[in-house]
């Protein structure tokens, strides 16, 4: 027996069989214990519970979800909330990160200092502490009666940020969409050879067309923009951004911005100095060097790290549960508490996050592939 094990190939097979058997046994024991527990608690397995109504509400959703909605609808609402705050957070964090990164690579000393202070402050404090901090600040704002007036654009109170919102009908939206298409077509058709001109033309065209069409096609008694107004103890009209959402967004923006700032800085620093000197020697102006050499090369160097950061930030939206933002994870964990369908819900949770992560990394890899320098590699 021992002599058989001395043969390297046989030993390999034995080890593999043992490991496989052990992991199968472990899984089997999990399943059996779970089944015993389910039977003793009288819970039926399977996804039948998705059609039952939940009996509990969530405080924020972009689709209609009340305490009478079924679990499937509630889970979808949570999933959309995750995507909403995630995409908004990624967009804001990227803008902040770009600004901070550029500040850190600029030749201006004071911009360097400001960028460094930003990065070191927001990167070195846990995200969840920042989320809780901003939430505390936002919920300590004055009550709606004493709300802070933001120069006519909206109000800030402990119930959230009330903003003026466009009150556009489907017809208005269709008009805007049509004018954008028309302007893009015009830019494409009559643009000429100068690279920036068609875009300026298109932008001007969109604005002019939209304004004209909106005023022509609009019913006179309906206002174009709905403003928030104080009625009694609360605000009516406009759009209300809840403090849960804003706090999570601000925290992701600052924390993600600091990390993305470092990625942007790394990208710019990675550009080979020789190439910049070569460009200067060829007589390119500073603006041309930035546009044709430095920025394209820096973006290519940033993309892989940026993909990881995006996936990380998207997963970090689960921290919203600390302040009661009903994201996918919070809806799933409340459902587990309420329905007891632990295994099924955990599976849905995993599938949801795998879906989000692979979509992000797939998209970023596609962009990476499109941007990669063709030819030699």
């Amino acid at each position: 027996m021992l002599r058989v094990l001395r043969n390297r190939r046989t030993r390999g097979y034995v080890i593999q069989a043992a490991v496989l058997a052990a992991s199968l046994l472990l899984t089997l024991s999990f399943v059996l214990t779970a089944r015993d527990n389910l039977v003793s608690q009288g819970i039926a397995t399977g996804f039948g519970f998705l059609d039952r109504s939940t009996g509990w509400p969530i405080n924020f959703s972009i689709i209609e979800a009340t305490d009478r909605s079924p679990y499937s609808r509630m889970l979808l609402a949570g999933f959309l909330n995750t995507i909403l705050v995630g995409l908004a957070g990624l967009a804001c964090a990227t803008c902040v990160g770009l600004a901070v990164g550029l500040m850190r690579v600029s030749s201006n000393l004071i911009l360097n200092v400001l960028g460094t202070v930003f990065v070191e402050t927001f990167r070195n404090v846990p995200l969840i502490l920042q989320v809780i901090f901003w939430y505390a600040i936002l919920t300590h704002m004055p009550s709606p009666r004493a709300a802070i007036d933001l120069a006519g654009l909206g109000f800030l109170s402990n119930r959230g940020l009330m903003l003026a919102a466009p009150a556009w009908s489907a017809l208005d939206l269709a008009i805007i969409a049509l004018s954008i298409i028309a302007a893009l077509f015009a830019a494409h058709r009559f643009g000429g050879t100068r690279p920036l001109a068609p875009w300026g033309l298109a932008l001007a065209g969109i604005v002019a067309l939209s304004v004209v069409l909106l005023f022509l096609g609009h019913e006179p008694e309906m206002p174009l923009i709905s403003l928030p107004e104080l009625r009694g103890l609360r605000f009516v009209g406009g759009v209300t951004i809840k403090p849960e959402f804003s706090a999570l967004l601000i925290a992701i923006m600052a924390f993600g911005g600091a990390y993305i700032g470092e990625i942007v800085r790394g990208g710019f620093l990675s550009v080979d100095k020789g190439r910049l000197e070569a460009a200067r020697a060829l007589g390119l102006s500073n603006a041309q060097i930035n546009r044709f050499i430095r920025i394209p090369l820096a973006i290519r160097a940033m993309l892989p790290a940026l993909t990881n950061q995006y996936v990380w930030l998207m997963k970090a939206t689960t921290l919203g549960i600390a302040i009661g933002y009903p994201d996918y994870f919070m809806v799933v964990s409340t459902s587990i508490n309420q329905s007891g369908q632990t295994m099924e819900l955990l599976l849905l949770l995993m599938v949801g996050f795998l879906l989000i992560n692979y979509t992000i990394s797939g998209t970023m890899n596609w962009i990476n592939g499109r941007l990669a320098i063709k030819g030699r590699s």
Binding site: S107, F329, M350
Partner: protein
Amino acid sequence: MPGGALSRPPPAMAGRLHQLRKRLFSNWFDGIVTLLAGAALVSIVVNLVDWAFLNAVWSEADVSQCREVSGACWSVIDARGRLVLFGLYPFDQHWRSTLACLIIVITMILSCLPALWGIKRLSALWIAGFGTFVVLMYGGIFGLSVVTTEQWGGLSLTVFIFAGVIVLGMPMAVGLALARRSKLPVIHWLAAIFIDTVRSLPLLTILFAAAVVVPFVVPQWAQGDKLGRVVVAFAIFYAAYQAEIIRAGIQSIPSGQEEAAQALGMNYRSVVLDIILPQAFRNTLPSTINQVVITFKETSIVTIIGFFDVTASASAAVGRGEWGAYYIEIYVFVALIYFVFVFGLSRYGAYLERRTRLHHG
């Protein structure tokens, strides 16, 4: 610069001034940017100093004084600092919690010394440090009274989770990295699937599963207490990330070295422990430190699943009562605690990175 390039360089002082001028006012646009950004910087600094120092109350814990000033009320730290640092740990035993934290800090500082870099020495150091920490905190021997983990809280709970995750996670990470590099297909694929699944899930969901779901699928006798389960789950999460770092380090070693070692008749254990791992760790030291830093920050996530770590106790300290209005001061205090740990560690990582870059030319 025709002609001038060969002339004598200007005196050092003028050179520095010239450099400064070039970095602040190289052209009119730069000048405007400098003025605007400078104004922003000055106003931030002035307001901060005004709030934190000039108008602040530093005296003993007395709320009435704080109501009269516009600045920070640092008395709240005096009043609630113990709650933040020690949580529900018995009041007369606070010295144990302090000492335990100090021991881990000393262990961390010691492991930054290159003289102690070796697999055996570092393992011994951390097992000793972590063991002493647990004995001090839990008690039960040497005449120390028993303090169960439900009573642990504040900074020492944060430090315990952090140290536990590193001590358990590092060997797991080595195991996973080697398993993923294994030539046996079953081992390789199981490790790969495990690592990729764990990495694609948020930490919070894994900790949640450990706290809530494990009692459901694991027989009673194997469950352990909630804190233990969460630390093990966190360690698995850390190990999945660290394993990929180690794997990258292993791949950066030329394969000739492994072959040479085998040709010399060294066995697998010896090849891994004496040839592969030391180099793999040295090559990936900056990313390892980065991962450790991230882990320290992420210990704060246990707040959500009901542990009383330093973040949770900060919220509890300002939850209600007369000090509730001074929540900013408490959060700034806790943020500073994290900042000191994290900033110190990441500076050290940056120093190491510069050093290795210099050594490699």
